[in-house]
């Protein structure tokens, strides 16, 4: 085993059955030098206090469950090494989200935003299986691949100052997802999607803090998607002024 030291983990606790507002609780626990923040939480859950609630699953930075605020920054706790911090680590639920319990936040608002951008391939005429796989050049793949890497961990929502102030804002991940389909050579639905992008809370609600891209653990760069979305949806809007709808 690796070296063991003691650290204090200060965790936000909130049980709606008992607490009016969230409070904090400190745990002093032995930690191994190769642990991530999530390992410390799991240690607390297993050995110290089984009433602590947090979400986690894959512990390999791909399921997106375990996003939390660590010392004030949104982090994927399974990827964030304890050794990055001093002897006291503060773990809170994701900022900008209503808190259900302890470190568990409300996800349904996010899921609704997600669906709004129509994250599926839209085609005038659906392809039949017999037609085989569509051809797509490596370059066409590269046009959208980056935007398809989002694991929906919602760290970007926690970092974004607009998300916390504007309840209509679609938010970075949802817009990046819509942009991912807009940029996919197999898709023909960008006009439909751009209407959503131009609505209240769409791309132009973004004031380009760039925080989403700073905290993204998967280098998706949602801020870039939002800005590109601004340009492309505006073009679509201008096209709509000149050409009647439905013409290309």
């Amino acid at each position: 085993m690796s070296e063991v030291t003691k650290k204090t983990v200060v965790v936000t606790r909130f049980d709606p059955d008992q607490d009016e507002v969230p409070k904090t609780q400190s745990y002093e626990i032995p930690v191994q030098s190769d642990w991530k923040v999530l390992d410390a939480l799991n240690y607390i859950k297993d050995e110290v206090d089984p009433t602590l609630s947090h979400r986690w699953s894959c512990r390999m930075a791909v399921c997106g469950s375990c996003g939390m605020m660590v010392n004030g920054e949104p982090k994927l706790t399974c990827k964030d090494a304890l050794s990055n911090y001093g002897n006291t680590i503060e773990v809170e639920p994701l900022a900008n989200f209503p808190v259900v319990r302890d470190l568990v936040v409300e996800l349904d608002g996010f899921m609704e935003r997600f669906k709004k951008v129509k994250p599926w391939i839209i085609r005038a005429k659906e392809l039949a299986v017999e037609e085989g796989a569509t051809r797509q050049s490596p370059q066409e793949l590269a046009d959208f691949k980056q935007w398809s890497m989002c694991i929906n961990c919602m760290l970007c929502y926690s970092a974004c100052p607009v998300v916390g102030n504007d309840p209509h804002f679609l938010g970075p991940a949802a817009i990046a997802l819509g942009h991912r389909y807009n940029m996919d050579s197999r898709d023909e639905g960008s006009a439909e999607r751009n209407e959503v992008m131009l609505e209240e809370g769409g791309v132009f609600a973004c004031s380009y803090a760039n925080e989403c891209s700073e905290v993204c653990p998967k280098d998706v760069d949602p801020a870039a998607a939002v800005q590109q979305g601004k340009a492309l949806s505006l073009l679509d809007w201008a096209k709509g002024l000149v050409l009647p709808r439905g013409s290309e």
Partner: protein, 147 residues
């Protein structure tokens, strides 16, 4: 404790079945860490507003006769105003750097319909050529070739 977020922030359309604790903004917002430069960048708009008002003032002075104009020029020579000018210059350089170099580069779509931007290596010579052409045009005009 961090500031409260909007009470509806990230709430689903229909409130969830159990009571939730209100959402909070990130601890460091608005003046900590990287948020500071975002806020400062936004705050530069006050300077642009002020400069715009100055322009209006100039137009007004021009229309009000020579005395008014001279008075304006005199007031602009005030050392505080000169210091402000220097400050504005620095702000413009910083804001331009942040906007053009840091933020705008990645805001360019990889394609617009079938159109793609030129390859990244071609951009600097393209700008160079554009600059030369514009300079040539200015020189030609100043020489009075065009009436």
């Amino acid at each position: 404790m961090a500031r409260m977020a909007h009470p509806q922030a990230m709430q689903p359309a229909k409130p969830g079945p159990t009571r939730t604790a209100a959402a909070r903004m990130p601890q460091k917002f608005p003046t900590g860490g990287r948020y500071l430069s975002y806020i400062a960048f936004g705050a530069t708009s006050f300077i642009y507003l002020y400069v715009a008002l100055q322009v209006l003032r100039m137009v007004n002075a021009l229309a009000s006769g020579e005395a008014a104009w001279n008075a304006l020029l005199e007031s602009l020579a005030h050392p505080v105003y000169l210091a402000f000018n220097a400050f504005t210059f620095l702000v413009l350089v910083w804001a331009g750097w942040r906007f053009l170099i840091k933020l705008s580069a990645k805001a360019q779509p990889k394609k617009v319909g079938p159109l793609r931007p030129p390859p990244a290596q071609a951009v600097p010579p393209l700008f160079g050529a554009l600059w030369l052409a514009a300079s040539a045009l200015v020189i030609v005009v100043l020489w009075g070739i065009f009436p």
